[in-house]
Structures are given as structure tokens and as C-alpha cells.
């Protein structure tokens, strides 16, 4: 058991090294930050001196190794654009992203399960079919378009909700929160829906499919035969069994919600790590880009590691090595 855990941990580290390496390969093609850093009057001599000082002339593997070496000591360097330590910048912006991700996840989970159950129970109902067909739009429209459409309807036309920013936030010292003010809560609604819409439709369709599957099982028939009320059958027996795979998928999707907040944060000018990353790409702020990619990589690796370990706990056959796992 311990051996398996150690092996999984080792694999996780390998993945992170690869993530860092691939991101370094990409940075070569993003451009050169010196012209952003120096302004147009700078002489060629100062330009060359800066390229040298930043180590941009060093071979790729030297740049990579020095980055990994420092990252192992939790030193992610200093932003080229703002000259602030990257770790501070991430810590400062992470609350905004995590709060947005939380709201989106709750929205996706709650609305997804409710709508999934409803469409499963009323399979031929007009409303259920409308929900199902409109969910196709949710899956196929790109996030930025959904965001712009929501802004159009709720901010510009109806003037109900703010189109950008976090509203007023309360600083708790280690965390800034938008949950404690009216404008903060209002600001969360549109980006929360935009970010969670895809996951919501996914969870809804999964819940519906699982629910339909469960409803065909014998024990549901027996439950009905016993004369139990519909309510008890659906929610007491069927839903419980439906939720196991739904929760697994939802957990895995949490990582994507954080990672793919980039587009939503850009559309709504949400001051989180995604917006920070986009700014870094425009500026070729290599330290910020590499730290962000490493952060997202770590997040995915951690989630997968936890899922893997949970499988070990749940399934004794894996523990004893009796069953070769296929796929992953």
C-alpha cells in the first residue's frame, strides 16, 4: 500500500517537471519582454544589457534548471511587469479566483442535479425537453460569448447586475472576500453562471443518464411494488445511487473550473489569477506564466492523486494488486 502511494507521488512529481518543461518550451515562442520593459527610447546597449541580466540568452536547459531549482524552494521569481514577487501576486489574487470557482461549482452542482433529476423523471414533458435542448446551447457556445451575452442582458439592458469587477470586498487580513457585501454578491452572479454553465450542463446530462439507468433497476420496481410514494422512490432510493458517479466527475471538474477561469475573468475583469495570467502573456512576463502553469498543474495532479488514493481505499482489489488497472 505504502509502495503504491510512493509510486503515485513519484509520478505526480514527474508530471510537474514535465509541465514546467513544456511551458518553458512554449515561452521561447511567446516573444521577448525587453521592449515592454524598457520603453521606446532605450538604447540598444541597455537593451542588450537587460537581455543578458534576465538570462534570456542562456540556453533553454539552464533557464529551466534555474527555474526548477528556485521553485523547489518556493521561490517563483519576480514579475517582469510589476516587479512584485510572483508568490505574493498569486496569494493576493487567489481568493478572487477561488470564490468565483466555489460559486460556479455550487451553481453547477445544485442546478445541474435538480435539472437532471427533473428531466429524468419527466422524460416527455415540454419543460424537460426545452431544458435539454437549451443545454445544448450551453455546451456549444464559447464562454466569452455567454459572458458577453449575460452582460448585455443583465447589465446594459436591465441594469440589474454589474458588468465587471468584484464590487466591494472585505479584507480579512489573509483573504479578501466578496461574500460579505451586497455589491460583492451581486458581482459574483454573472461570472459565476458564465464559468459554471458548461459544468452545469455536463452534470445535468450525467445525472439524467444515471437516474434513468437507476430507475430501470429491479429494486426501484420493488420499491414501487411496495407502494412507496414517488417522492420516496425518486429521492430516497434512486437519487442516492445516482450521485456516486456524479460526485466523482464533479470533483474532477473542480480543477478545470479553477484552470479555465481565465476567459471568464478576462470578460468580467475579475481580479483573479486567470486575469493575471492573461496580462502576463501579453507582457511576456515569464516568471508569472511559469508559476501559474505550475500552480494549475499542481492542482490537477493533486486532485488526480486524491482520486487515485480514494480508489485504493474504496476498492480492496487494487490494494492487493490482484487486478491490473486498465486506463486511467
Amino acid at each position: 500500500m505504502l509502495l503504491i502511494i510512493l509510486r503515485r507521488l513519484g509520478q505526480s512529481f514527474l508530471v510537474l517537471f514535465l509541465v514546467a518543461f513544456v511551458s518553458f518550451m512554449i515561452f521561447r515562442y511567446v516573444g521577448n519582454p525587453v521592449d515592454n520593459l524598457l520603453g521606446q527610447e532605450a538604447t540598444n546597449d541597455r537593451r542588450d544589457a537587460l537581455i543578458e541580466a534576465l538570462g534570456l540568452n542562456d540556453p533553454l536547459h539552464v533557464q529551466y534548471l534555474s527555474f526548477v531549482g528556485r521553485a523547489l524552494q518556493f521561490d517563483f521569481g519576480i514579475s517582469y511587469r510589476t516587479a512584485q514577487p510572483v508568490a505574493d501576486m498569486i496569494i493576493q489574487r487567489l481568493p478572487a479566483t477561488l470564490e468565483l470557482a466555489l460559486v460556479s461549482a455550487i451553481f453547477a452542482m445544485f442546478v445541474g442535479v435538480v435539472a437532471g433529476v427533473y428531466t429524468a423523471i419527466n422524460r416527455r414533458g415540454f419543460i424537460a425537453n426545452s431544458i435539454l435542448s437549451s443545454s445544448l446551447i450551453g455546451v456549444s457556445l464559447p464562454t466569452f460569448l455567454i459572458g458577453v451575452l449575460l452582460i448585455w442582458v443583465f447589465s446594459v439592458e436591465l441594469k440589474w447586475l454589474p458588468s465587471f469587477g468584484r464590487g466591494d470586498v472585505v479584507d480579512l487580513g489573509f483573504w479578501t472576500t466578496g461574500f460579505l457585501t451586497v455589491s460583492g454578491l451581486k458581482s459574483l452572479i454573472l461570472p459565476g453562471i458564465t464559468l459554471g454553465l458548461y459544468q452545469m450542463t455536463l452534470i445535468m446530462r450525467l445525472t439524467r443518464a444515471e437516474m434513468l439507468e437507476v430507475l430501470r433497476q429491479d429494486y426501484i420496481k420493488f420499491a414501487r411494488a411496495r407502494g412507496l410514494q414517488d417522492r420516496t422512490v425518486y429521492f430516497g432510493h434512486a437519487l442516492k445511487n445516482t450521485l456516486v458517479p456524479v460526485i466523482t466527475i464533479a470533483g474532477l471538474q473542480l480543477g478545470s473550473i479553477v484552470a479555465f477561469a481565465i476567459i471568464t475573468e478576462t470578460v468580467f475583469q475579475w481580479p483573479g489569477v486567470g486575469l493575471m495570467f492573461i496580462n502576463a502573456v501579453y507582457f511576456v512576463d515569464i516568471p508569472v506564466m511559469s508559476a501559474y502553469l505550475l500552480l494549475v498543474g499542481t492542482l490537477f495532479v493533486l486532485i488526480n492523486l486524491i482520486v487515485d488514493l480514494l480508489y485504493l481505499v474504496i476498492d480492496p482489489r487494487l490494494r492487493d494488486g490482484q487486478l491490473k488497472r486498465t486506463g486511467g
Binding site: G31, N32, D35, G39, R47, N279, Y282
Partner: protein
């Protein structure tokens, strides 16, 4: 389900509260990089600094130099190498300290230090000294008639405050430093810093002891500055009344903003010219006839009407109209003439045309990539088969500066408002501290000498004559292919009176309400 969302949204929303007339909520695409006034030389950074700091001189909304912390300035009659500045008396910094010549000497020396991005503008300054408490002399290596043009973004700090907070040296952004002045300010400007969260929100309030209160009787008591990167969101924020004034209105949304009740668009020519550079030294474009053919094959009116939706000012010279040396004759552009262009091509021996790659930025100028696409078609008409290579600015500029391109797009703003700035960077032979943006290969020793001579010529008539002569040579050689001057658009509430400043810097002490 939709109804559920609608209902809950409605329940949470309260009627949008109308902001008090004195608060200005201001949005533009990017945030300032640092509050240290000497650490960066970049538009949004200066624009924010201008609210809190003053220079010795400033530019008014028409671009003319007017008094700020200095009330009089002139080169000494007996020694043209020395500029003498008389300072405004009775000015205090935000913390109450008095402003005098000691602060000017300190600030100008600070801006010359390593780490300052303003140092190139003061490169010719050898000494700054206080004559008395309200008089400062600035000595340059040789006479420098241009000096005052470089001082409008050169901000004054308090020496005592800088020493007390250990910010005697400017923040060196490229070395990854931050200091106290990065997030704190103590200027003499019309507004004082209240709070700042980088890339999120900056709040300023009116300085009750501002020296210019009588000169600029503004009613603005508070400024809330928010960068909003996505242009659709920025326009939406203006349309929904969440902000009062935005910069960088995309041209496709101008009509919509202007047509909305209670909003208006204010437009003015920008101090930025857009043009194509071509290789003057090698390949088919080294022949001046080919460059001329390309120049008259560009249909500038079509670019203006179709690509720019009338928001541009076509030109025949790579110089915005504010700049010293500009004449309407230079600005005249040749008629679009395909037959003449084809004849020139045939003359040069390229009747069958040739292949060329056009390097273009796609995130720097207004509709940059679309202009390039239009140019590809226009060049095709005279047989030049152009491949378009559009990249983000972070890749485009290093690529062209290293001389890799034969045909590229570039825009140029002229912060000194003098032709010398264009000549020195775009037309002087590339090398040393000059010609850093001249990858054309154009190199003319006479022109180089004349450019250098402009820096110390104090006879303004003779100097203007030299400028005219350089332009004559440059125009005859058709070194670049000018396209147009950009037009600036600010969208704002109808009740605001505010002129667009040609450097794209709103100075809110000039803002009044109807």
C-alpha cells in the same frame, strides 16, 4: 429554471445608485505599472501619475507647453547651455511639506539614476543646481533647445519624503525591485492617493491644498480608476452607467455609444502615426521606384473609410500634425494611382512583381491587422504577392528591431513634439544610441550629421530649416510608406466637459461638469 435565476437576480439587485456628480469613475484598457514617477516611461503609468504629481511644465489639451510648477523658463542669454526655471511659490506636497528648488534638484537627479526609465530624456543634462529657493539652473552638454519638451512627464518629488522613506533611488523595475514609492505617493498634484490595488482599482481624492485650484476650478472630488481589459466589457460598463468615462473605445462601438442617451464620444487627433517600413538596403524594395510604386498603390481613403470607419487621418509623412516641422504640404499624400504604380514597377524591372512578407502586430494599434490585410490586397494589384504574418506585439517588435523583416508595420508617437525625435529613432543610421528603431537600412551620413546638429542648434529659424531639409531628403527617398494618424476616442457621460488630450492622458483637473 431561467425564471428562478431571473427572480433571484432581481431580488438581489437594487436600483443602480446614481453617483454623486463629483466622483469620476474612469476606465481604460491597462493599469499603471508603478506609482514611482521615474521608474517607467509608459502611457498609462504617466496618465495616473499626472493626477498626483506635477512636472515643472505640462501640456494642455491642445499639446502646447504651459506652466506647472515652473512659472517662467528660458535659456540664459549669456550661456545657452543653461536653462533657468523660476518656480511657483507657496506650493505644498500632499503631506504638507513645502516645494522648493531643493526638491527640483533632487527629483531631476533621481530621474537620471540607473533604474530610471526617464534617464534617456535627461541624457544631455550635466548639472542641476539651485540658484535660490525658487530658481533652478539646468546645464546641458552643449545648448539644448529641445530640453523643455522632455520635462512635461518629469515629475517632482519631495526630497525629505524620499529620504525618510528610503526611495532616494528610483525603483528599478527591470531588476525586479519594488520600493515604498511603488505603492505610495507624495506629490503636488490635484489628487491624492486613497487606496490602490494593482490591476483592480485605484481611488484618488481631491487635494484640498492644490496650488492650481483657482486656475482649474474642477468639481471632481474623487476618481475611481479601474482597468477593464476586454473592450466589449469596457463599453458595456459605460453603457450601463457603471463608469463615467472610458478611453480606447473600439471603432465599431463608437456609433452605439454616441447614439445612447446621456453619453457622448469626444474625438481628437492622436499624437501617433501609423506606417509601413520597408527594407531600403536589400531586395526589390531597395529600389526607390518600387517604394514609390508601393506608396501610390496604398489606397489611404479606402483604409480610412472601410477599415477605420472614418476614424483616422490619412497622411503622406510619418509625422503627426502636432510636431514641430509638420507642414500641410508634407502631410499631402499622393493620389491612389494603379497605372502609375505599375509603370514604376515596370521601370524598376519588376513588371511581374515579386514576393514579400508583411510583418504586422495584432494587439498594438487600432485595427492593425485589418490595415495590413487591406494592404495585402492593394499590393497584389501591382503584382507584389504579400504574405501576411501578424503576431502579438511582444513578438513583432523584437522581430523587426533585429532586422529580420523586409516589410513591416510600425506606429510612432512623438512625446517631445519635435521632428528630431522621429529622425533620431527612425531615420538615423542604426547603431550606438541612435537609430534603434531604424531597421530599414536607410543610412545617409549627411542626414545623420544634420540630425545630431539639431540637438544643439539654438537659432530656431536655422534649426527649422534643417528639419525641413531632412524631411525633403526622406520624402524623396520614400524611406517609409505612411498610412495615417490615429484618432483618439473617449466615451463619457453627456454632462462632462472634457477635451481629449493628444497624448491620451486625461488630466482631471481640466474636467468640468455642465
Amino acid at each position: 429554471m431561467l425564471r428562478l435565476i431571473l427572480l433571484s437576480a432581481a431580488a438581489l439587485s437594487v436600483t443602480a445608485s446614481a453617483a454623486s456628480a463629483e466622483t469620476i469613475r474612469w476606465a481604460r484598457a491597462g493599469d499603471s505599472i508603478t506609482l514611482d514617477p521615474h521608474a517607467q516611461n509608459e502611457g498609462p503609468t504617466h496618465a495616473l501619475a499626472h493626477q498626483m504629481y506635477d512636472g515643472l511644465l505640462q501640456r494642455d489639451m491642445s499639446g502646447a507647453i504651459i506652466a506647472s510648477l515652473a512659472t517662467e523658463w528660458a535659456a540664459l542669454a549669456e550661456n545657452p547651455n543653461v536653462w533657468r526655471f523660476k518656480l511657483r511659490e507657496g506650493v505644498t506636497f500632499h503631506d504638507g511639506a513645502a516645494f522648493d528648488s531643493e526638491d527640483v534638484v533632487f527629483s531631476l537627479n533621481r530621474a537620471k539614476q540607473e533604474g530610471s526609465e526617464m534617464q534617456e530624456l535627461l541624457a544631455s543634462v550635466v548639472d542641476v543646481r539651485a540658484v535660490d529657493a525658487y530658481t533652478v539652473d539646468m546645464e546641458t552638454a552643449g545648448a539644448n533647445p529641445l530640453m523643455i519638451n522632455n520635462l512635461t512627464n518629469m515629475f517632482m518629488m519631495d526630497k525629505g519624503w524620499a529620504e525618510a522613506n528610503d526611495v532616494v533611488m528610483p525603483q528599478n523595475v527591470t531588476a525586479g525591485e519594488t520600493n515604498y514609492a511603488t505603492m505610495n505617493t507624495n506629490g503636488t498634484g490635484a489628487f491624492m492617493l486613497v487606496s490602490r490595488s494593482v490591476d483592480e482599482k485605484t481611488v484618488l481624492k481631491a487635494n484640498p491644498n492644490y496650488w492650481g485650484k483657482d486656475l482649474y476650478p474642477t468639481e471632481v472630488s474623487e476618481i475611481i480608476y479601474t482597468p477593464i481589459q476586454s473592450s466589449a466589457t469596457r463599453v458595456a460598463a459605460l453603457l450601463s452607467g457603471e463608469v463615467d468615462i472610458i478611453q480606447d473605445v473600439p471603432v465599431q462601438d463608437l456609433g452605439r455609444v454616441a447614439a445612447t442617451d446621456g453619453l457622448k464620444v469626444v474625438t481628437a487627433a492622436q499624437n501617433r502615426v501609423i506606417f509601413f517600413g520597408v527594407d531600403n538596403a536589400e531586395g526589390p524594395t531597395s529600389d526607390v521606384r518600387v517604394r514609390r510604386a508601393m506608396n501610390i498603390a496604398i489606397n489611404r481613403d479606402a483604409i480610412k473609410q472601410i477599415v477605420m470607419r472614418d476614424q483616422s487621418d490619412p497622411t503622406g509623412v510619418i509625422m503627426p500634425p502636432f510636431v514641430n516641422g509638420w507642414t500641410s504640404a508634407l502631410n499631402e499624400f499622393p493620389a491612389y494611382d494603379l497605372d502609375a504604380a505599375k509603370a514604376l514597377m515596370a521601370d524598376a524591372g519588376y513588371a511581374d512583381g515579386f514576393d514579400l512578407t508583411l510583418n504586422c502586430p495584432n494587439d498594438r494599434y487600432i485595427n492593425d491587422e485589418a490595415i495590413c490585410q487591406a494592404a495585402v490586397g492593394m499590393m497584389g494589384q501591382i503584382g507584389i504577392d504579400v504574405t501576411l504574418d501578424a503576431k502579438p506585439k511582444a513578438q513583432h517588435f523584437p522581430y523587426i528591431k533585429e532586422g529580420n523583416s523586409d516589410f513591416w508595420m510600425l506606429g510612432w508617437g512623438v512625446p517631445t513634439f519635435d521632428s528630431h525625435y522621429i529622425f533620431n529613432y527612425l531615420l538615423h543610421t542604426n547603431g550606438g544610441s541612435r537609430g534603434s528603431w531604424n531597421p530599414t537600412g536607410f543610412s545617409n551620413a549627411d542626414v545623420d550629421d544634420m540630425i545630431v546638429s539639431l540637438e544643439s542648434e539654438t537659432d530656431l529659424a536655422a534649426r527649422d530649416a534643417t528639419i525641413a531639409k531632412i524631411w525633403e531628403i526622406v520624402q524623396a527617398e520614400q524611406v517609409h510608406l505612411p498610412i495615417h494618424n490615429q484618432v483618439l476616442n473617449w466615451g463619457m457621460k453627456g454632462g462632462i466637459n472634457f477635451d481629449v488630450q493628444p497624448e491620451d492622458q486625461p488630466h482631471f483637473q481640466f474636467l468640468t461638469f455642465n
